[in-house]
């Protein structure tokens, strides 16, 4: 899509809402926390009068794994490196999609069944950029961020999980 074209009408040159090409912590928000995460807070952080779309992803602890009951997940992170990788991932997202603001929030410590472990959100003038950026951000998080989860089952066993490989090349830019 031409950067000056809107989904169903044309903006005169210079009137396209300002999208930011470079990652910047006034528009890109990262948090690793042992406290419960809030989708409302994430949406508030990306809300923008120039946005026509806010897209979100929320990851939650599932109650079963291969037919066995899950009690809880326990997460840990290498926080300084996670922040560095987040900056790189978000810069890549901004080079692929037209974005106003983004959020990546990850919980660490114990996360019980039904609770939220991760929230990703993005705002854009247009839905395709917001939706595709959120998909790219969560796939990149799962592939690259130094965060681990241990799964505790109701039979008393526990396992360090490993994410499936993700094909990040499958994420095409919306804007080219």
């Amino acid at each position: 899509m031409d950067k000056n074209a809107c989904c169903n009408h044309q903006h005169p040159p210079g009137e396209l809402p300002k999208h930011h090409e470079n990652v910047d912590e006034s528009h890109d928000h990262f948090l690793i926390s042992s406290e419960p995460l809030s989708l409302d807070r994430a949406c508030a952080l990306v809300r923008d009068d120039a946005a026509g779309a806010i897209s979100t992803f929320e990851g939650t602890t599932r109650s079963t794994f291969n037919g066995k009951g899950v009690v809880r997940l326990e997460y840990e992170a290498y926080e300084p490196m996670a922040k560095k990788e987040w900056l790189k991932i978000t810069q890549e997202a901004r080079s692929k999609y037209l974005l106003l603001s983004t959020v990546m929030h990850h919980r660490i410590g114990e996360v019980a069944v039904g609770q939220t472990s991760v929230i990703v959100a993005a705002s854009s003038a247009h839905r395709a950029d917001a939706i595709n950026a959120v998909h790219f951000l969560i796939d990149s998080l799962k592939a690259r961020l130094p965060i681990w989860k241990k799964e505790l089952l109701d039979d008393g066993t526990d396992t360090w999980k490993q994410n499936e490989p993700v094909d990040l090349d499958a994420h095409r830019s919306t804007t080219n």
Binding site: A77, Y78, M81, W148, W160, K161, N163
Partner: protein
């Protein structure tokens, strides 16, 4: 210098980190490399051997290739990064 162990690597090492003197694993007259360090931590923690085979490694919070002859300094921080499982 500091070596950090996360997740299954911490379980295998029995601790979250080691502080290691560069002179303890460098050949005389040679500047110690990342490869030397990875060999050394496997002699300290035998149970790390299978973990390191399948882990990534970071140097000062950036992914770095194993089998790398990058030279290390006292202020460096290396981490053993088992396959990640965030999300």
């Amino acid at each position: 210098m500091k070596v950090l162990y996360f997740a299954s690597a911490r379980d295998a090492a029995g601790q979250g980190e080691d502080t290691i003197n560069l002179s303890s694993f460098s050949a005389k007259g040679q500047h110690p490399t990342l490869d030397d360090l990875l060999g050394h931590v496997q002699t300290i923690h035998d149970r790390l051997r299978p973990i390191i085979k399948t882990s990534l490694v970071s140097l000062n919070s950036e992914y770095v290739l194993k089998g790398s002859s990058v030279k290390l300094n006292d202020s460096d921080e290396v981490a053993i990064i088992p396959q990640v499982s965030g999300g």
